[in-house]
Assembly symmetry: C2
Homo-oligomer: 332 residues x 2
DNA sequence: CTGTTAGCGCGTTCAT
DNA sequence: ATGAACGCGCTAACAG
């Protein structure tokens, strides 16, 4: 006896109910994860019928009434930074482990984002995790028509919960390390000035350098990439200093390759070098970059807390800070 | 005059129709991207009403009848390989550019697939791109209840279309390079043996080495990672040979760091070294690994062709091959 | 060209 | 505890 399917050939809950000899409502309850009143034997029959039919609920149809799809949007600029690699794999894995799935939304620029979202399922996600710095919290809430927006890009307002690495502690330690080694002059190699995170980062460096009486000889602007580090290292604006602080490890690697002591020594010839992000790559022998990092698992644990217990975050734009650390390597 | 909303507060197509003074069907047609028969003035009124109401279609509801969601699943093992970084950013960007969105499905193990089958909204996607080698074509089709599955992991059957880099050409060139430099003995450092791609790769190396009369002194199995390269390089099984071929750049980097000539020279002391993948990182000065790669943009263009013109692939499990190249660097 | 109607698959009243 | 009926938002099919 073959079930007569109409559209996609998938069994629906109606098929299950029919096979079990009960009404659709009973089948719905028996299959529900919530405890709903159904007699034991009928529940048994429904479950068995679902089993033999290979029934899988249509979650899109379900979402039509429940208003929830178990989908999370991860909004990023790009995913080609080395530091991303360490983060996203774990993040996706953890999100999946709580029964949700991830839509990756890549927004190279702020242009047309809204339009793009409207034409896709991402528009209906339960929550959005915003790493990209293309938009402020209010815009994102409006875009997703959803208050469940977690800002991870350093941009927040009174209503938006956010998780931000507390970079001051790491930067303080890094600059202290330099000061303790007799550094008196420094150069700052920065990333995109438009980023809120970057602005705060640079401000921290400035104040810490000043506090340690280290003269800031200049700021050179790159784009976080290895190539931009190389470019700046040979630019006419480059200055002779005791230490170079880069706001990304990749830029520090570029600087290192240009200024190695000897053909391929592990440290620069004339200055101490500091990076940022503590990417896995810094474990490679050729790039022992002193760096600042944070515990990714703590960070992600907080993100998951937001997804599973949103109320704890709702009370007036909670701001969670994840501590950073400084790790000294050969480069400094 | 305020529209009386019931649920989410979003205007529905019924609200638009009412305001425009037409039936829901007319509103639906006027708003459709496809050219459907609607009189000019009514279309105008509908569009205007939608405009003033700020109407946005509910794509989940639409998908209920159209059976299409503009969602593409990307199925991966992990995304922590360096070679992934170069690929996925571009892939996501391109998929988004044709109006589809990407749901990332990470299956770290074959067990993860079972887990996925239970939850997962992903089985309503329009297509699945399979990079993970934990599932064969039949399983994936069942997982997604969808025949629109593109195998990119080297595993295919008669029904599944696939795109595979033609690694033989690159390997042939790499081995020829070694032979031309007088290499007579070689070591092969491999990755996970379970992978179909890896098996083919190793087989190619074996036959090419034999053809060039290079003796294969041994095969050491790693896991593609830098650390596994280091580990193998110091293991008791390591042999003195003229050349070492690694099936990933990361392993080659690990081997290089253990066997550098001098403190940090760019080449191994006693042998020529070859990697695989031609990751961007090989452009870093400290790891000039001779490698085998393929044009990512061609590869992705073929994937997009599958998404936009699936019929061209349907005819009996089309197999598309993307050519590989060999690039010589300092390490060999 | 237009409007009415009938689903799509599911959860949820509301009577029984 | 149960099942009929309705609604979610939208589009396809069918009449007019």
């Amino acid at each position: 006896m073959i079930e007569p399917r109409k559209g996609t050939g998938q069994p629906t809950i109606a098929d299950v109910a029919e096979l079990a000899g009960v009404s659709r409502a009973i089948a719905s309850r028996a299959l529900s994860s919530e405890p709903r009143p159904v007699s034991a034997d009928k529940r048994e029959r429904v479950l068995k019928a679902a089993q033999t039919l290979g029934y899988k609920p249509n979650l899109l149809a379900r979402s039509l009434t429940t208003k929830t799809v178990n989908l999370v949007a991860v909004v990023v600029n790009h995913i080609h930074d080395l530091s991303d690699l360490d983060l996203f794999d774990l993040l996706i894995s953890e999100i999946q482990s709580i029964g949700k799935q991830v839509i990756f939304v890549r927004v190279g620029s702020s242009q047309g984002i809204e339009e793009f979202l409207r034409n896709g399922i991402a528009y209906h996600v339960d929550a959005a995790l915003v790493f990209s710095d293309f938009a402020d919290a209010a815009t994102v809430r409006k875009m997703f028509r959803n208050d469940s927006v977690l800002m991870l890009n350093g941009m927040r307002d009174a209503a938006a919960p956010a998780i931000i690495p507390d970079e001051l502690t790491g930067i303080t330690a890094a600059v202290a390390d330099a000061a303790g080694k007799g550094v008196r002059t420094a150069l700052l190699v920065t990333g995109r000035a438009a980023s809120a995170v970057e602005q705060a980062r640079v401000a921290h460096y400035r104040s810490e350098l000043q506090r340690n009486e280290i003269a800031l000889a200049g700021e050179l602007r790159g784009d976080y990439s290895y190539q931009s580090g190389r470019r700046l290292a040979v630019s006419p604006d480059w200055k002779e200093v005791d230490a170079v602080f880069c706001t990304s490890d990749a830029m520090a690697m570029g600087v290192l390759d240009v200024h190695r002591d000897g053909v391929l020594q592990t440290r620069p010839k004339a200055f101490r070098l500091y990076g940022f992000d503590d990417v896995t790559l810094a474990e490679y022998e050729a790039y022992p970059i002193s760096s600042i990092g944070y515990d990714k698992s703590i960070y992600i644990k907080e993100i998951l807390r937001f997804l599973t217990h949103p109320k704890e975050f709702r009370s007036g734009g909670t701001l969670v800070r994840v501590p950073t650390y400084f790790v000294a390597r050969d480069s400094s």
